[in-house]
Point group: C2
Chain length 158, copies 2
């Protein structure tokens, strides 16, 4: 049972950026820190920007920062926005034809388990992922710009 | 977010067999019913036998049957026995090296969500997956042989 690498790396990228609230972070430094390819992180950063979790600044000296305080970035919401689907079993997909469709309870029981999973994540924010020292220096809510969902952003070259 | 196809098909195979308690089922008929390859089902049946969920009878006229009553086959236990791992994020694996290991809470929060997921499945059995008509004819517990874990079984050719 797995989340996609995209979701895994998204959470780690957000954690990294949250721990450097005093400056812009670059894709290159996150790639070095986690030993992840820059191309992969470029795609992830773009997606996190579209979903409104990151803001980016173009050009020389540019980079990324959180678009909200860590305590305002809900983990369940991040996972829902990045994970492509939650078809834990085939019959949760919309185009599945199964001889048991409509009579078996597999989808409803698996959906219930998934709901329990997401409800647990919904009770946590990015702030809960950070070590105590990082929480102490995390950017306060008052100076964070509002989250902008669906905005198309470009990530600065590092 | 996905369970493996192995787990998905395992639950469907168990459901099929549970709905035909009065006779042995063959891999060929399950393959036809779900439009799944026989080779794939052969592997799954073998694994379900090893885990003690199925019993098989060799030779002509042979096939498979449940090794316990549907109400005694717990869904959480089935998923745990078939799913190869639950490393929802990389850092849940044992050989992961991450610069945040030991200081971040990602593993504990994701593990908590996974625990909620499994606890939901633990509250259900194979009997809960069956349509009402199948429950009525499901093999009663009294005539079921005891579950034999770790037994190596051969599935009869259909």
């Amino acid at each position: 049972m797995r989340l996609t690498t995209m979701t895994d790396y998204s959470m780690r990228l957000l954690m990294y950026v949250a721990q450097h609230p005093q400056r812009l972070c670059t894709i290159a430094e996150v790639a070095r820190a986690y030993d992840i390819s820059e191309a992969h992180l470029m795609k992830i950063t773009h997606q996190l920007g579209l979903c409104g979790w990151l803001e980016t600044v173009r050009g020389k000296g540019g980079g990324m920062r959180l678009a909200a305080a860590p305590a305002d970035i809900n983990l369940g919401a991040v996972v829902r926005s990045i994970e492509p689907d939650f078809f834990l079993v085939d019959c949760l997909g919309s185009d599945t034809v199964c001889l048991l469709t409509g009579s078996c309870q597999l989808t409803s029981i698996v959906s219930g388990a998934l709901r329990s999973f997401m409800q647990h994540l919904d009770r946590h924010t990015l702030a809960d992922l950070l070590p105590a020292t990082a929480k102490a220096v995390a950017k306060p809510k008052s100076v964070i710009r509002p989250v902008t969902f669906g905005r198309r952003l470009t990530v600065a070259a590092s």
